[in-house]
Symmetry: C2
Subunit: 246 residues, 2 copies
DNA sequence: CGAAGCCGTTGCGTTGGATCAATGCGCGGC
DNA sequence: GCCGCGCATTGATCCAACGCAACGGCTTCG
């Protein structure tokens, strides 16, 4: 529950699309992004409005309270979405992975901050531009709506987790859900990478860093998982699923 | 955290629209429902697909796990949306009031149960029928999408509340949010009706019934609120807002 | 009018997770 | 190789919320 040091780098690397780099047609995350429903001509139209933007670890894509002028597709890397209370308590609302769209829950201003947990590449659109395309393209709107509905069910799952699950259940459920998300974007393995730190997990699960660490140690001691540098190997997935049971 | 007794009445009153009762054009919640964006001819089209359905206190509109064959507009009354864990732990995902649309977070099956907290009137659509109308009407889709996005921000607020707020803050925030919601549907008063029981509040806030009761008593003793039968009068809204601070 | 339920409140002991405090460990810089 | 830093782990203690139990008020029903 640390207060953000505020030393968030903002000198992100920005570049307009040009002939020299691969366009939307070759985009690695196209099949799993909102763009998957677009035809090639529509993609061209969208590409003209897009800018690529890369971040390094620790840099901020946008900050809570700032005017919400842009929406984003995550192409590569992982971002942490956090909301901060005035007294420094922090809730991590989620982690954005490749293929995710940032800008669904949009108001006039961003309600969360988005920070890179490692090297990140995104595709950025002016919010008004993007809204105009959405307005004119029912398939894109439908695709966004489907994503919003899916996000809503995820949020409901998380509400159940935060409200009614024990610390051990929370950690087990988190590891399994992360495994599933990585599986869906191609990286399929029993060893789950943990791009975020313990504090981030704690703030996501409504726990403290110490409790997360203790629960991971307990699961490790019970041979349900194996703690490895930078991640976790899921040894007894059945037991984890029983713990996370819903 | 009681296990549902399962004695949920399902003999709801159902009637097709006929000349004898007021149609969508005269619907009390039209201005605040998803239907507000529809023209009169479009309303007629929708009305032909709709059935009115009334419930009495304790009756179930739909149950978690059942095939999600219908979507609903709430016309009158209040419903409790709950998700149950296998061991009986319960999370109330929300309370639906007049003007609310049930069916945004829809999967193949309902992920929550919806139960009437008093007399309830709803407007029901076959899910496929409604999807077809949505597909063909971009304005309706946009309206639903806006609602989904709004619900998503509400869910995020609730995640912060569940994860990082104290019992007293949770109760204060709940009372204020309920006041706001009632205000938005016309019932504007410092005395907030509480259609749900203490157990429902507890399961919504991730607390026990005793803790909710204690916090209400504490706020009452501090003259921040006044407990009245069936509701609460907000005496010191500033202090409540400071407690709920975000 | 009394009995039986149901719901909400309150008191009290318990406890899961928070908090405080050390210690460990890997990594980059020099 | 050694130092310093940030992060993770572990132990000891504390406390906010839980769990249990008793009580009280309201409603329903015979």
């Amino acid at each position: 529950m640390l207060v953000d040091t505020g030393a968030c780098e903002r000198n992100v690397h920005l570049c307009h699309h040009g002939r020299s780099e691969p366009g939307c047609g070759d985009c690695a995350v196209r099949p799993i992004s909102v763009c998957s429903v677009l035809t090639l001509p529509e993609l061209d139209q969208l590409e003209a409005l897009s800018q690529h933007l890369t971040l390094d670890k620790g840099q901020t894509l946008f900050g809570q309270g700032e005017p919400a002028d842009f929406v984003f597709n995550v192409i590569e890397g992982c971002l942490r979405l956090t909301r901060l209370l005035p007294d420094g308590r922090r809730q991590v609302m989620g982690f954005a992975l490749p293929g995710d769209f940032l800008g669904l829950a949009l108001q006039e201003r961003y309600t969360v901050s988005a920070e890179a947990l490692g090297h990140v590449r995104t595709c950025r659109f002016d919010r008004e531009d993007f809204a105009a395309v959405t307005e004119a393209n029912a398939r894109l709107l439908k695709s966004l709506h489907d994503r919003a509905r899916f996000e809503l069910t995820l949020a409901h799952d998380q509400m159940l987790l935060l409200g009614r699950r024990t610390a051990e259940e929370k950690v087990a459920a988190f590891l399994l859900s992360l495994k599933d998300r990585f599986a869906r974007i191609g990286h399929n393995s029993v060893t789950v990478e943990l791009p975020m730190g313990r504090q981030d997990m704690a703030d996501y699960l409504g726990l403290t860093i110490e409790t997360v660490s203790r629960m991971l140690s307990r699961l490790d001691r019970a041979h349900s998982i194996l703690l490895v540098p930078g991640g976790v190997r899921l040894l007894d997935q059945d037991r984890l699923e029983r713990l996370a049971a819903s």
